[in-house]
């Protein structure tokens, strides 16, 4: 059960703190994503975050404070992580209070990031390039985070606050935060900052430049989307290496659930997810996930078993069967044929249909687009 305004009536949650932090580098020791953040401050409180250093916009080499030569993208992602974690520690952990106002947290985080990035740009010793382009930025990175906690006492329903969880998603760029509910499925909590303003399916195809990201040389925004939900559920943050190379948005949900279903414990889930994503992604991939409110891994699996079967049958199976046929045809006959083109056409149509039927629930918690 999920809602965006009123705290919902909830069951008392389980106490299993179930977390997955996944980090895949395309090139060993040169991953431009920073390692994900997973901070737990209680059974239903903490912070998840990911940071995707933008290798295209920030490929220029800069010297790190440790004297290493790395890309601007690499440094930016790590600086964003360091800044967010420090800000969260001051704002929440040291104050021992949940985030009461997500917008205020986002505004103060943006100020902290601006300061930190301007300072780092001053410190780096890069020769100015002759290249002019809005596609190239100094220290560019995305950020997607979701902070979660029990709602403040004044907004709780007496005696029912135990399983209710308030969340705040924060982001700049096209990394995402999601809520995965056993009954209603995967819900995107962030809205991609892309120039095309495309939806999640269009963004799989279009690869649009970003309209907003953290950097040292351009103003940027940290957006916020706040809401509440009843545990048990799963919260996650992921860079586009996790969801941007799959056939449809539903395939990402299925990837999460299929690997969950195949695993016998948390560690195995992490390995299966990593293996599966490594096989499909064309980018660094980072994911931070927290299952909130379950009494153990078995209960988590049980809760999602129906949903897993439904997602496969309704949104995934037919597309995957065509892809299997296409791959077999391509192996036997690398040159394009009429059969291949016909299958590709079928696949295009099925992908579009899958998105049409999946979209309404998936977008239920997405904030409205900015004017």
């Amino acid at each position: 059960m999920i809602a965006q305004t009123e705290p919902p009536k909830c069951q008392t949650p389980g106490d299993a703190a179930t977390a997955v932090l996944l980090y895949i580098e395309q090139k060993t020791n040169a991953g431009e994503d920073a390692e994900p953040t997973g901070i737990s401050t209680g059974p239903i409180s903490g912070l998840l975050a990911v940071y995707d250093g933008m290798g295209g916009a920030g490929s220029a080499i800069v010297r790190t404070p440790e004297g290493e030569l790395k890309t601007g993208a690499y440094c930016a992602a790590r600086l964003a992580k360091q800044t967010l974690e420090a800000h969260y520690a001051r704002y929440v952990v040291e104050a021992v209070a949940p985030i009461a106002n997500g917008q205020a947290f986002a505004a103060s985080l943006r100020d902290e990031l601006s300061r930190a990035f301007a300072m780092r740009a001053e410190e780096t010793d890069r020769e100015p390039s002759k290249i002019r382009s809005s596609l190239i930025r100094r220290l560019p990175t995305t950020l997607a985070a979701v902070a979660f906690d029990a709602p403040p006492p004044e907004t709780s329903i007496a005696g029912e606050a135990g399983g209710s969880c308030q969340f705040h998603a924060f982001w700049a760029g096209d990394s995402r935060a999601y809520l995965l509910d056993p009954a209603t499925g995967l819900h995107q909590l962030t809205r991609d900052d892309v120039k095309s303003r495309g939806d999640a399916f269009e963004n799989l195809i279009e690869d649009s430049p970003l309209s907003n990201c953290i950097s040292a040389d351009q103003p940027f925004s940290i957006h916020c989307n706040s809401g509440s939900a009843c545990a048990p559920f799963i919260l996650l943050a992921a860079t586009d290496g996790c969801f941007g190379f799959l056939s449809t948005p539903a395939h990402f949900e299925y990837l999460l659930l299929d690997t969950l279903f195949a695993a016998s414990n948390l560690e195995e889930w992490n390995h299966l997810l990593t293996d599966r994503l490594r096989g499909v992604t064309g980018d660094d991939a980072t994911l931070a996930l927290r299952a909130i409110g379950w009494h153990g891994f078995g209960a988590l699996k049980d809760a999602f078993s129906k949903r897993c079967a439904l997602v496969y049958e309704t949104y995934v199976r037919e597309i995957d069967e065509i892809e299997t046929k296409l791959r077999a045809l391509h192996t036997n006959q690398p040159e394009a044929t009429t059969d291949q083109e016909s299958l590709r056409e079928q696949r295009r149509n099925l992908r579009a249909q899958s998105w049409i039927s999946y979209r309404a629930a998936y977008e239920r918690l997405i904030p409205p687009s900015l004017p």
């Binding site: 390039s129 002019r132 799989l204 690869d207 649009s208 430049p209 056939s247 499909v280 496969y312």
Partner: protein, 226 residues
């Protein structure tokens, strides 16, 4: 679930100034054109971006307002690697000659490039135009109404119309498009660099003096999602 990654379809149009003033650097530009797609391909492979279809076409331009020469030569799209030899032969056949003094017809070449028959299939598409010139460009409205007989039909009448072609959706996909310009700071290249979306400008005569570091930075901006 099947492990099928998303594949890229990449189209590249190379616009090369083939006027006489380019003689000292035309060989460098031609080898730059021949290596551009290989380097881009390599960059994408390094990032595990899988290319399904790669096509290139070439537009060599001079000056329609100077008589007695072939003012513009363009190829169809070559599919690589199958048609690599044909592509290489076209590029090698470009000679720097004629064109008179600057300006040249770079904007006409750019308009023709934007109007290319871009691929409409592929999971993700990247449409790239690369311009090499050592000169400023004739305004598109020059000699309006009395264009030379060989002047192409259906080109924009002025710079605003050309801008609309780039920024609109009729000719080239907004998300897929990228434009790299190696040109001096002169009309209309500086305006394009400052005002158009998804442009990378290296201000010099047709890329002269381009360092390997800057070249790699340009390739990264084109090859990666940004």
């Amino acid at each position: 679930m099947e492990q099928q990654g998303i594949k890229y379809s990449v189209d590249i149009v190379l616009c090369i100034d083939a006027t006489g003033s380019m003689s000292p650097i035309i060989d460098e530009v031609k080898s730059g054109a021949l290596r551009f797609y290989e380097d881009l391909n390599k960059q994408m492979e390094e990032k595990s971006k899988s290319i399904d279809t790669l096509r290139l076409r070439v537009i060599a331009f001079r000056d329609y307002y100077v008589e007695g020469e072939e003012p513009l030569r363009q190829s169809a799209f070559y599919t690589l690697p199958q048609q690599k030899d044909e592509f290489s032969a076209f590029v090698r056949g470009i000679e720097a000659d004629g064109g008179g003094d600057e300006p040249e017809n770079g904007l006409e070449a750019l308009a023709l490039a934007i109007k290319s028959e871009w691929a409409k299939t592929g999971d993700k598409r990247r449409h790239v135009i690369v311009m090499w010139t050592d000169a400023s460009a004739h305004p598109l409205e020059k000699n309006s109404g009395i264009k030379p007989p060989t002047y192409p039909q259906g080109l924009p009448q002025n710079f605003d119309e050309l801008t609309d072609m780039w920024e609109g959706q009729s000719y080239i996909n907004r998300s897929s498009k990228r434009l790299v310009i190696y040109s001096p700071d002169s009309y209309a290249w500086t305006d394009i660099a400052n005002n158009w979306e998804n442009v990378v400008h290296y201000p010099s005569k047709a890329g002269k003096g381009l360092s390997e570091v800057d070249y790699q930075e340009i390739l990264s901006a084109i090859a990666n999602s940004v």
